[in-house]
């Protein structure tokens, strides 16, 4: 009998964890330990040589963190994942060429023999452009390169980039996966389908000197990339998630489908309402008919265009600052994806040090307000918006 293909909502609740074998605990136990005993010196040697599966040190693996990893991997279809915090690629000497993602051919034109990967966001921040993932994936595939997609703004409930050809998906779990603004975290998920042995990725196919010559792709196959991230990246750079934080993120993941439905419904209603408001100059939300990315949003985000929208306030920077100062319960902070509605005026906060020309070039003009629409009563959100807009003039 073929294995049942469970639905997304079921996987959000069950993937990655069966009742604890030792205690029968139904909820995920928090394994608050740094280290794990070895059965014998030989067992330890097998673990260090990556020749058996087991826990050594929580920087590399932890059973609570592993539940979160597998749950995210299951919901994004297939492969391995590992959690990671705050990796700073720039310090590692990795050069990046930025291109306008609206034309997928721009990626093709930027590829050189040294290129290792293409990278894009499902929904760009803060411009909220929707990337044609399948088209960029074709460019990547023709060049023998993996396409990385940052799917943070969409969450796996709204978009699963593997279905469109992405090789690696990353999320800030701090946002919708956790969903309650409590916990920092990030994930890397691999599709398990990228051919790392195509001649461009020697570090995946040649012996790893740190592990007695293990070849990650040959040994681990469809989870070779994430094993390499874990065993070389986590070990060396140390951005490991704590067991408690994994537990908190898991509580959020359980209700992701329900929250995303309400986030999207509220965001669409707020976007429509703002369009008709006399104090609003423009509204940018890919879920609105007429938005330049609306067709791509219908293709890649059919269940909703997410919780984030931006709008322009009449009166520019001064009105924006006044608006933010006037809200009653909408929270002014630099995050998205909280259950609470969040609002920020970049020109007077995160981008204040830039000139007006520089702000416009960065896609955050002086009049731009960014909203992450939360789960409060819709009428209350609109009420707070309206009174703050009235006071901003």
């Amino acid at each position: 009998m073929a294995d049942r293909e469970y639905g997304f909502d079921t996987l959000c609740l069950h993937a990655g964890q069966i009742p604890d074998a030792a205690t029968g605990s139904r909820a995920v136990p928090i394994y608050q330990t740094t280290s794990y005993v070895f059965d014998s010196p030989e067992h330890a040697a097998s673990l260090f040589n990556l020749q058996t599966f087991g826990n050594v040190y929580t920087r590399l693996s932890n059973p609570t963190v592993a539940v979160l990893e597998e749950r995210v991997a299951a919901r994004t279809l297939y492969g391995g994942t590992h959690t990671q915090l705050d990796v700073n690629f720039r310090k590692l000497g990795i050069d990046t060429v930025f291109v306008d993602a609206d034309d997928p051919e721009n990626f093709a034109r930027a590829i050189t023999p040294k290129t290792k990967a293409l990278y894009a966001e499902t929904l760009g921040n803060p411009s909220l452009n929707v990337v044609d993932i399948a088209a960029v994936a074709r460019v990547a595939s023709q060049a023998g390169l993996p396409l990385f997609i940052d799917n943070t703004f969409a969450s796996p409930y709204l978009c699963r980039p593997f279905e469109h050809g992405a090789a690696i998906v990353v999320h800030s779990a701090t946002k919708f996966l956790g969903g309650h603004g409590t916990t920092m975290g990030g994930v890397i998920v691999e599709s398990g389908k990228f051919p790392w042995d195509n001649g461009r990725f020697a570090t995946m196919t040649e012996p790893s000197p740190g592990y007695h010559g293990v070849r990650f792709y040959e040994t681990f196959g469809d989870f070779g990339f994430t094993m390499k991230c874990r065993m070389e990246g986590l070990r060396t750079f140390g951005p490991a998630l704590s067991p408690l934080n994994a537990f908190l993120l898991l509580q959020g993941v359980e209700t992701l489908p329900l929250r995303m439905e309400r986030h999207c419904a509220n965001a669409l209603a707020v976007a429509h309402w703002l369009q008709d408001h006399p104090r609003v100059a423009w509204v940018n939300y890919p879920g609105l008919p007429g938005n330049r990315y609306h067709d791509l949003a219908r293709k890649y985000l059919p269940k909703g265009a997410g919780a984030v929208l931006t709008f322009g306030i009449k009166g520019g920077a001064a009105a924006g600052a006044k608006f933010i100062d006037s809200v009653e319960f909408l929270s002014q902070l630099a995050n998205i994806g909280d259950a609470k509605t969040l609002v920020i005026h970049p020109a007077s906060t995160t981008h204040r040090q830039l000139s007006e020309e520089q702000q416009i070039a960065a896609g955050v003009g002086p009049d731009l307000i960014r909203f992450s629409v939360g789960l409060e009563t819709l009428d209350d959100i609109l009420w707070d918006l309206d009174q703050a807009l009235q006071r901003s003039s």
Binding site: I18, P19, A21, G54, G79, T81, G221
Partner: protein, 156 residues
């Protein structure tokens, strides 16, 4: 078939595994996969004409030379060699034929299945054991195991 129920049955019903093409080099996947299964309670019988002994067990040049009952034939050979291996597996009365990751041969599969053997192809015996009986889940891999039952085994 490689659904979870079939794989669990193969791994539960088979106790003696003949590993065809087992390397004596400790850093080769065939060696540490067999060693892993040995450490998890299976009897390993090495099959490789190049060695007298591997992993503490007497090594045989081919399947037909093994003087005892073999449940599972696990194959680390190139796909072209698999038809002969499948014929030998049938001849010695094995219950199942397992071709490792990348070892794909439809004719070998057909021969073994026609004789009533369960065939698993393009999978790793060690990874599947760890996936279904614990261990692989510690590394964030999508094991596809969904259950509300408390397992009767402890992963190790």
């Amino acid at each position: 078939m490689s659904d979870i129920a079939t794989l669990r049955r193969v791994l539960r019903d088979c106790h003696t595994i003949a590993v065809v093409g087992l390397s004596a080099d400790w850093f080769r996947p065939s060696n540490f996969a067999a060693k892993y299964m040995q450490q998890h309670g299976y009897r390993i019988i090495p099959v490789n004409p190049k060695y007298p002994e591997i992993l503490g067990e007497k090594c045989y040049p081919d399947l037909r030379s093994i003087p005892e009952k073999v449940d599972l034939v696990d194959v680390f050979r190139k796909p072209a060699d698999c038809v002969a291996v499948a014929q030998d597996a049938v001849a010695i009365g094995a219950k199942a034929l397992w071709l490792q990751i990348g070892v794909i041969n439809e004719e070998a599969k057909r021969i073994a299945e026609a004789a009533g053997l369960t065939v698993v192809m393009d999978r790793c015996v060690k990874i599947e054991y760890a996936r279904l009986y614990g261990g692989l889940n510690w590394f964030g891999v999508n094991t596809r195991v969904i259950s509300s039952r408390r397992p009767t085994w402890l992963p190790h």
